[in-house]
Subunit: 452 residues, 2 copies
């Protein structure tokens, strides 16, 4: 397809992937008609920033908006339609049908379609989940709601259902607002996706910050009470002014499924490295689509912001004839739990086993600063390697400093399928305020090699 | 050679490379006689930690000692001889000759010899360089001397000759001790090895912290004065209670040269990837030896602590029959200038030109935290790529946070000869307190790609 060809590009979903694709395609092809259907009123905001914004009552939540709908309309020349819910895709007619918030039906034809419908919070099927004080946190309007709820209802007690990223980040946000937090989840293990010592370090940080943890507890129901709600567990009842549901997310792939598109990992829309679905004129990107894992080579579903942005760009490239294949994801992520930085990339030993590797793991405790340098704190590094191929498979780290950006060195190594031995040879930076002579990652690699 | 064979391993120099080799070899081969000749009284200390220790009058300098001579003698079973200056190596006789500090001659035979004599500060040939208040900072005794000098002489004014790492780090140390600093060097450009915008950011940080910079000024002489010294420049005279000479270092390779060993890059001892010199029974490691550069593939001399430690280990491996080839160095380094973190890895555009590449560079200004997250500060990233091959050649970064460890992602990429395009696909971590969705390194790569 020639760059300047007249074409109609339709996008369902106006968040990271959708708006990245729309903007880039319009930059690459000024003659294209670019229409975005977004069911909410918000586009292009930092969803991951919501917990930190909620933590500060004096910070306007609009600060998280990267670009407003009007800017996209006027400056980027995108036909951005908010309040437009897409309800049906007809690949045969190459049309999308839907209804606006005010109840009007619409239909749009496309030459190329991008489905970027994202993911949505899992709402467990328990009595009381529909109470007014029971809220998830995924989009900006939910963020606004939680923030104003805390202020207006003078919230003092919160129960969080779930112990994932958002749950952990919201502990700090509630804490800063003077809200006492209890966290509940059915599984016995606090964080099953972290090595035990690292998981314990996070648990200690939560307990030190007065978060009450209830792992291995099932929520039977949520009852309305005088102060707001009572969260009833098997053997315990927790009072709450607010209940945050952070029990994970699922991909919004129903629209695609109903249109006959293939689904892939985690029930997300199956896409190839060019983000194409099983229909040659339909792409999918962002949290609703799957991806190749750079370590296992297998399909996976790991909804993360960078991938969504990158995939959006790649869709625009590929539609405009600039072939862009995405190598895949390593699941690199970082989050903050009070003063602790927690990061991971690649596979855990369990994931590596499932993927058919012969994994060996090793945990070390290193120091965040050089010998004799004041202020040093422990850094825990768990590294996983493959006995058969020698490859580095994954790294997890926890510590109060030097974790968040350090993980990226391992992420790059995974991207190029480096062996642990090759990684151990890397020439990493050293200065006393920032780490030991042997970077914690190198010490971890050296120790792991002895086990392999 | 069998691991447990009886052999005599002799090491000249008891710092990072020498003690690493001695300790590891003794661990690998308990029957070996391991003797280390060290001309000073100090072994195994964090030399890079000295500026930070000098900054705090209440911190004992012995905190920088990682392991004492006695521990090496008793626990590691190493015959560690301090105050032993090696003066001649005879490869023909396989012997080393020297004199102790008390004037006694000695000689030692070896089966395998390691020369780990390090580097020494350049002392410019100017009148007054031998005054008592004119001091370099390389070994621990010099560190102790400077520290006690500041306290005892109630130092108020310092002149630093040179603007390298140590000079820059000592600005902060002097500042914390209430000492006013002037820095002088002959070259017109403040930091010729940094891209101009990044160099300016460092210069601004120094000026903001009241450091007076005199680039393009030659020191004609240092005169004794009532308060200590007068540093006489071409058109200016600076008073000083102390003069720190930090005008670079040179490898201590004379002993090797006199023994007929080949010298390599920067006048350092030439070694292969197994750290062998031109004599099959003599190895060299640490700041006295050269190395292969992982980007250019050419020999270079970049004295850094990690390489010294790694090379020491590799020498022990190779002598004990565990073949260990070091891929080489990327020159990855980081240092702190007051509140600023400065890091680099790989080649500058000038170095890349010299090495025969067709380099393109690009400078971006990114933010240290996500859109809408409070406390964000600028991060400058200069990235260099090769137009011909597409390879990533080097990165330089400056900023008040998120620089020190972030550079390692680029260092790993250089280690595996990644292209800028491949690096741009890396799945790096994101969370609002630690950076934007697109990591500054990815933004830099994306922008650089457009130029390539």
């Amino acid at each position: 397809m020639k760059k300047e060809q007249v074409m109609t590009f339709l996008v369902i979903g106006g968040d990271a992937a959708g708006m990245s694709a729309a903007s880039k395609l319009k930059r690459m092809n000024k003659n294209a008609t670019v229409t975005v259907l977004e069911m909410t009123e918000d586009v292009s905001y930092s969803a991951c920033g919501m917990p930190y914004n909620i933590a500060d009552p004096d910070r306007d939540m609009d600060l998280l908006v990267v670009r407003t709908a009007d800017v996209f309309r006027q400056k980027n020349q995108i036909n951005l339609l908010t309040g437009h819910r897409a309800e049906k895709v007809s690949p045969k007619e190459k049309k999308v049908f839907g209804t606006t918030l005010s109840g009007q039906s619409f239909e749009f034809a496309y030459d190329k379609l991008l489905i970027a419908t994202g993911a949505r919070p899992v709402m467990p099927n328990i009595p009381g989940i529909d109470l007014d004080c029971v809220l998830p946190l995924k989009n900006l309007s939910q963020g606004r709601l939680i923030k104003s709820f805390i202020s207006e209802k003078k919230v003092k007690k919160a129960v969080i259902i779930g112990m994932g990223y958002i749950a952990l980040e919201m502990c700090e946000a509630f804490g800063k607002r003077g809200v006492a937090v209890s966290m509940v989840k059915p599984g016995e293990t606090f964080l099953p996706w972290m090595q035990a010592d690292l998981s314990q370090m996070i648990q200690d940080e939560l307990v030190q910050n007065k978060v009450a943890l209830y792992a291995g507890k099932t929520v039977e129901c949520i009852e309305s009470s005088q102060i707001g709600a009572r969260v009833v567990l098997d053997d315990l009842t927790l009072d709450a002014d607010i209940v945050l549901v952070a029990a994970g997310v699922v991909p919004c792939s129903e629209l695609a499924e109903d249109a006959g598109l293939e689904l892939g990992a985690g029930g997300a829309i199956a896409v190839d490295r060019m983000l194409k679905t099983s229909d040659p004129d339909i792409y999918a990107a962002g949290d609703c689509a799957d991806a190749y894992h750079v370590v296992s080579g297998e399909k996976c579903w790991i909804p993360l912001a960078l991938r969504a942005n990158r995939a959006g760009w790649a869709v625009a490239d590929n539609i405009c004839g600039v072939k862009t294949e995405l190598k895949g994801v390593a699941g690199t992520s970082v989050f903050k739990v009070f003063d602790l930085q927690v990061a991971r990339t690649g596979l855990t030993v369990q994931e590596a086993n499932t993927a058919g590797f012969s994994p060996v793991e090793n945990m070390i405790t290193a120091r965040s600063r050089a010998h004799g340098h004041p202020g040093s704190t422990p850094i825990l590094v768990n590294m996983v390697g493959d006995k058969a191929s020698g490859r580095l498979l994954g790294v997890q780290m926890t510590g109060t400093e030097g974790v968040a950006h350090r993980i990226n060195a391992a992420a790059v190594a995974l991207q190029t399928s480096m062996t642990v031995s090759e990684f151990f040879q890397s020439d990493l930076a050293y200065a006393p305020p920032f780490g030991p002579v042997w970077d914690p990652l190198l010490t971890a690699a050296g120790q792991l090699l002895k086990k392999m």
